[in-house]
Symmetry: C2
Subunit: 119 residues, 2 copies
């Protein structure tokens, strides 16, 4: 029953592409992440995934187009849609997705984190 | 499959305490609202409700404490918990809750909006 300050939580993150859980509601996790560089292509078969950019710029590559998000911009990747987040410079973001969502879907890569942690 | 710019969507709102839907994912609606003054006391029996302040300050009064949120701060009101949002000055916020969540729970007031609109 405490409030969550995004900047305070972000200051605790020291790895790129490793989301941390900050809240839970209605079977969903709210996560934050810092990123720079390229994620792997993946999809989530049964889960929609929301990205909100808090600072910086994030491009979500889709197979047929790219979506570039700046601070205060949101994109929802629909379930089943292949995507690859890319950030040329460091970006801070908030994510929302079901608790059962796997980090990189069914793709295993060196970036994959099996069990995300609360922060 | 378009991105959503929070500031653009907020600029389309001209009423206080009347959330508008901006996105849908996993059975949840993402909403934005502008507010000033006092909401009514209410609760949502089966739904947790997330508040994220985008600009300004929002106090969420609970029966035993108050939670004051500034820009970039989040609070999740657990299901069943009575709450009353209050904003002495204009505040802009993002909300997340299940699609079936009623605006003022089972309470009817002059502020109640039966069918929230997409924006």
């Amino acid at each position: 029953m405490d409030k969550i300050t995004l900047e305070d939580k972000l200051s605790l993150i020291h790895e790129f592409w490793t989301p941390k859980i900050i809240a839970e509601l209605n079977g969903q996790y709210v996560k934050i992440a810092e990123a720079k560089g390229e994620m792997v292509w993946h999809s989530h078969q049964n889960e929609d995934e929301l990205f909100l950019v808090i600072r910086g710029q994030l491009t979500i590559e889709l197979r047929d187009t790219d979506i570039t998000l700046n601070e205060g911009e949101i994109f929802v990747v629909p379930r089943g849609v292949e995507h690859r987040p890319v950030a040329p410079e460091e970006v801070h973001m908030m994510l929302l997705e079901p608790k059962e969502t796997k980090h990189t879907g069914d793709v295993k890569s060196s970036l994959t984190v099996e069990e995300l942690e609360w922060i």
